[in-house]
Symmetry: C2
DNA sequence: ATGCACCTTCCCATCATGGTAAGGTCAACC
DNA sequence: GGTTGACCTTACCATGATGGGAAGGTGCAT
């Protein structure tokens, strides 16, 4: 199976498959006489694993760990769960940060008339005329 | 005022101040005989504006637009509000995406024993043994 | 044998930010 | 005067995950 077919089978772009090989995330693919990369069922399975992990927001380094655990028959699910819970905590941080931004902006937008006149609490807040409203008192 | 003082006054690193100048986000600073950049009150005000906009997650290009509107006495708040609402929509998309990832992972983690044994629904799900579970089915 | 789809490697771009190196400037202190 | 140390300058490289494109080789169907 050529790289294009492997790409279509897994949803990982050919570009990224080559990249994953170059950074050692996956083993170097077999080559045909033409020098074309050749993929088998196992490779496709691994790429599918990687794509699903990426879809869940795991970083390349986390995926590297997950792949090791996947291939380790003596793994304990404890390790996998820890990795997952850590990643959930990262996601929670990001979500909280974005949520704060959103709340601040939504408040400012509510206070903004949105008409033809230039008066605008959003711009005023950015200009520092007033502190951002209803934020946690910073230390 | 030298770049270091401007940096401390605004919370924008000297590195980024130079960068913003190089990409035309701010005008080229005045120079002293020493060739050191020299900043005045207006420059500091603009950098503060930029920092607050970045803290709210606006991209450089969005900030470019906001700065234009800030300096335009004939602006309508309509334009500012539109930019803001568009940005809120972007934030909502990101939050929703991260939230989906989080929910899927939380569900898998709940189903994972976390003990010494290798059986692990998280790894199995990544391996494609089973489709990702329906989250809404079981809260 | 020609065309077309596919592959190869290599370099560059993103976005916002930081690091480091090699060197210039300036004020303070001995 | 000379040294030290804090500050500044430019320039290049790195991140993480991905895409774009150039220049050229391979293989199959018409």
């Amino acid at each position: 199976m050529q790289i294009g077919a492997a790409s279509r089978a897994t949803g990982v772009s050919a570009k990224m498959i080559r990249h994953y090989e170059s950074i050692g995330l996956i083993p170097a693919a077999d080559r045909r006489d033409s020098n074309y990369r050749d993929y088998g069922a196992e490779d496709v399975h691994r790429l599918g694993f990687i794509r699903r992990a990426r879809d869940l927001g795991f970083s390349i380094d986390e995926i590297r760990d997950l792949l090791k655990l996947w291939g380790d028959r003596r793994r304990s699910s404890r390790n996998v769960k820890k990795l997952t819970l850590d990643h959930i905590a990262e996601l929670d941080s990001k979500i909280a940060l974005l949520g704060e931004m959103r709340a601040t902006l939504a408040h400012l937008a509510e206070c903004c008339d949105g008409g033809d006149r230039p008066d605008c609490p959003i711009i005023e807040s950015l200009a520092g005329a007033a502190p951002l409203p209803h934020r946690h008192h910073h230390h």
